[in-house]
Symmetry: C2
Subunit: 201 residues, 2 copies
DNA sequence: TGTTGCATGTAAAGAGTTACATGATTAC
DNA sequence: GTAATCATGTAACTCTTTACATGCAACA
């Protein structure tokens, strides 16, 4: 209920936040940001705090969540916790089952640089790829750690599968960088043998 | 020259468009969109026409490109073609060499769905992954085809390397989907043997 | 005393998309 | 005739981030 028309027009990020609540827990905006950083982040980027708060407002307006203030015994500022409603559960289930799946979007900063290899020194290309290997390995390790802390919770079975996917994804990213380092070496050797082609760089 | 302060603040998309021009060709906005679809798209999404036109305006204002109108002999509407200036070449080289590399950003629609597996039927998960496999394979084939049409052009050596990277990347995406299909089967079997855990779904 | 973590939110700006408008040419 | 391709651009809108504001508690 509440605003029926907004149902179809919610952006994917709203559904992601509602999805986080669909596991049944009562969470604050702050909690949601943390959960998001440990799950969504590996395959769907993590929204900023401010966006999470505005998504929560939108979801509540749509009747998909309800909230209440909780006084903190320890003395810190009171917090507002959110819970998914029946209408929200119905809506997110319907979205998950019926909405068209958005194609994956990749904005790969390191590749954008290497694509402009004619403007770089070979050493700079190696550095970009080396840093990317480290980044990918770090992400892989975080995915492993987060998957471990969720294991054996039946409710988290599918999130755990996506973390497993992420672990393999970042392992592949790391290996793809290594393969490209080899390709760059091969290209540099070929150019050294036949240096007539130096039209650019 | 022109607005020195805008140099550092240009968004990555501006640099991507300027990068497209850094290979030396004189191109129209329409051409740039096509080039973008055959290269950037595989690792950095392709901006819309309207954004390309506004980026070109911004780049010209910054003094990084110059343009001229060209009358079409065949009778179609006149077009405006853009060329990179010396200042633009200097700026894009400096950006490529010195600006911090943005970390890769992934928004993986199919994984967002599967992460909400508790809201889906197993059949729907298989369908999402099956479609994703097809998507990945199509992207891989496009990357192969585009790499082939650029081969042996020494100026396109690095773009060709990134297309090679893309070919492997999409092959990996395809294989990762297959691995996840197996994981889902294994999970379904485990649940069938021990159906006590049906707390959700 | 200063930093980190918890906790929530507003305001402003920028990035990027979709829809729309226009109009000629070519191929079916 | 009508669909597709070439070709450029504006307007409105949405998404998303950054910077800022506020304030307590624990810890070093």
């Amino acid at each position: 209920m509440a605003d029926e028309t907004s149902k179809r027009t919610l952006p994917a990020t709203s559904w992601a936040v509602l999805g986080l609540l669909s596991f049944g827990e009562e969470l604050s905006g702050y909690d949601l940001k943390k959960w998001s950083d440990r799950s969504l982040r590996f395959f769907y980027w993590s929204p900023s705090f401010s966006q999470i708060y505005s998504e929560l407002k939108r979801l509540e307006k749509a009747g998909y969540t309800s909230s209440r203030m909780v006084a903190q015994e320890t003395g810190t500022r009171d917090k507002r916790v959110y819970r998914i409603t029946d209408a929200g559960m119905t809506a997110v289930r319907e979205w998950a089952r019926e909405a068209p799946v958005d194609p994956p979007v990749l904005k790969h900063g390191p590749m954008l640089r290497l694509w402009l290899g004619h403007l770089l020194e070979p050493e700079q290309m190696r550095e970009v790829l080396g840093r990317h290997q480290e980044f990918a390995e770090q992400m892989r390790l975080h995915a492993v750690a987060d998957a471990q802390s969720a294991q054996d919770e039946p409710a988290w079975a599918y999130p755990t599968l996506t973390l497993k996917w992420a672990e393999r994804y970042y392992a592949s990213e790391r290996d793809l960088a290594a393969a490209m380092l080899d390709d760059i070496e091969a290209l540099a050797r070929a150019r050294a043998e036949r240096p007539a082609d130096e039209t650019l760089n």
